[in-house]
């Protein structure tokens, strides 16, 4: 029998510090997701030359709260012939998998409080990217289980669409990541950010890889133009047709959390993470202290993420939805070969560089 000696040495202070960090990241994601709904409506209004929500509070900033209250007090309907447990499990899983990505993203450099160096990353595991990839591939379960448990053919069709779409785009996404980590040589996100601090951001070395990743991120988060699982003119509400009240709210909410965290992943992988552009972070840290530096870095990361969230919204309100065969053709016949080509070219360049540019 295997005897495991303890290598999980849990220190009380570490436990508390990680707990605080987890609570902060989760509340942060929820608040950002909440205000993304508001931002989405404002952006839509701007694109369509309207005013958007402006009744609840000044400029309508209390609108998300009003929406939340409305969703909580709505009547909850569980379809008679559905399996109740799975019907409830669906939105729970959607929320859970959406939140899990936040655990490996470095939200800033280490800070110094109470005589301790605290890393602003919940878990600096050395398989960071693979972890994200795993969680993304689990994200489909919430939709599939919910769609099936609704006992409605439109929900089931939506769930099937979601599953096949996510599986198809995962491939191209994975291969574009492989090209990225071939030259970074690490799977740890923290290490990747550190590399990008002193050198070029990865976007300049992997422009094609980034484009593929971006398109796949749109597909994985079910955002327009890839929102076929909930195409309302074909499938009523898609996988969440039968959902009402806060369970529906959770599905919609998990989409916004996914959007926020996939923006965070893209920023971390390709846009330097919390790196402050045009500034040497280490020098700045010496002059103003590590805590202020971490604060500024967090703000910079947040600003970059907001740009990406805006991009998501911009695309949603300008690009029409794909047809289903177009979606599959794009995934399998365009993105997959492109990402393979990207990987091959990257590999060849790395090999040439090792040979000092001789064939």
């Amino acid at each position: 029998m295997l005897i495991h000696t303890t290598f999980l040495v849990l220190d009380g202070a570490v436990l508390i510090e990680k707990l605080i960090l987890i609570v902060l990241v989760i509340t942060g994601s929820l608040v950002v997701a909440m205000y993304s709904t508001y931002a989405e409506r404002k952006v839509a209004a701007f694109m369509q030359d309207r005013i958007g929500p402006d009744r609840a509070g000044p400029f309508g900033i209390l609108q998300p709260l009003a929406d939340g209250v409305k969703l909580f007090f709505k009547e909850e309907i569980v379809p008679t012939f559905s399996s109740k447990f799975l019907f409830i499990l669906g939105p729970c899983l959607a929320m859970l998998t959406a939140m899990m990505v936040g655990a490996v993203i470095p939200w800033g450099d280490t800070i110094h409080v109470f005589g301790r160096n605290v890393s602003l990353q919940i878990a600096d595991i050395n398989i960071g990217i693979l972890y994200i990839f795993g969680v993304v591939s689990l994200g489909v379960y919430g939709i599939m289980i919910g769609g099936w448990a609704s006992n409605n053919k439109f929900s089931l069709l939506g769930a099937m669409r979601a599953a096949s779409q996510i599986i198809s785009y995962e491939l191209a996404m994975g291969i574009s990541i492989i090209a990225l980590l071939m030259f970074t040589g690490t799977l740890s996100l923290n290490e990747m950010v550190n590399q990008q601090k002193d050198h070029w951001w990865n976007i300049f070395r992997q422009p094609l890889g980034f484009l593929i990743f971006l398109v796949c991120a749109f597909a994985e988060t079910n955002r327009t133009p890839f929102d076929l699982p909930e195409a309302e003119n074909e499938l009523i509400g898609g996988y969440h047709s039968e959902y009402s009240s806060m369970k529906l709210g959770f599905y919609l909410f998990s989409e916004y959390i996914n959007m926020f965290l996939s923006s965070a992943v893209m920023v971390t992988l390709f846009f330097g993470g919390y790196d402050i552009p045009f500034v040497n972070d280490a020098h700045l840290g010496q002059s103003i202290g590590v805590n202020w530096l971490a604060l500024i870095e967090g703000a910079v990361l947040f600003a970059k993420i907001c740009c990406f969230i805006f991009l998501f919204m911009w695309v949603r309100w300008t690009v029409p939805r794909f047809r289903y065969d177009q979606l599959m053709n794009l995934g399998w016949k365009v993105l997959l070969p492109l990402s393979l080509l990207n990987m091959l070219v990257t590999g060849a360049l790395i090999l040439l560089k090792q040979n000092h540019w001789h064939f």
């Binding site: 000696t5 999980l8 040495v9 693979l130």
Partner: protein, 172 residues
Amino acid sequence: MEITKIIFWFLTALALVAAIGVISSKNPIYSVLWLIVVFFAISGHYVLMNAQFLAIVNIIVYAGAIMVLFLFVVMLMNLNADAEPIKNVYMKMAGVISGLTLMIVFVAALSASEQHSTIIRPGTSVGLIENLGRALFNKYVVPFEISSVLFLSAMVGAVVIGKKDPIKRINE
């Protein structure tokens, strides 16, 4: 008890309960979901042994891709207790006998094996991706490449089978 031991026993119990759930559920959807729980418990064991790469690949490949396809198929077939065909008694007997034979093989193999008290030390890093990659591409490069060719041929085979017959389509 140390925390590692508590986690070990928890994961073991979870894996066993879930595995029993797989075979005892009436509804195939629940079976598939239990099987996903089993994969998670096994991945937890890998993490305990510091084989992080194996753990996450287990989740990506099995829980993330294969089980999604399983679920997909089971959902589309819409299997339930009413639609289940009545099985032949001989088939049931054959299932029981082959299952018992497998159990005997397992028991025999386990009882004949030496009792190892392998101690995994805190700093072990055999399962980390760097060491695994080095081992795969140096010592085991031939089997690795052969198995990848095998996968490739399986993929080509799947595409060929899945392709519609062009002549048939013209006739329609």
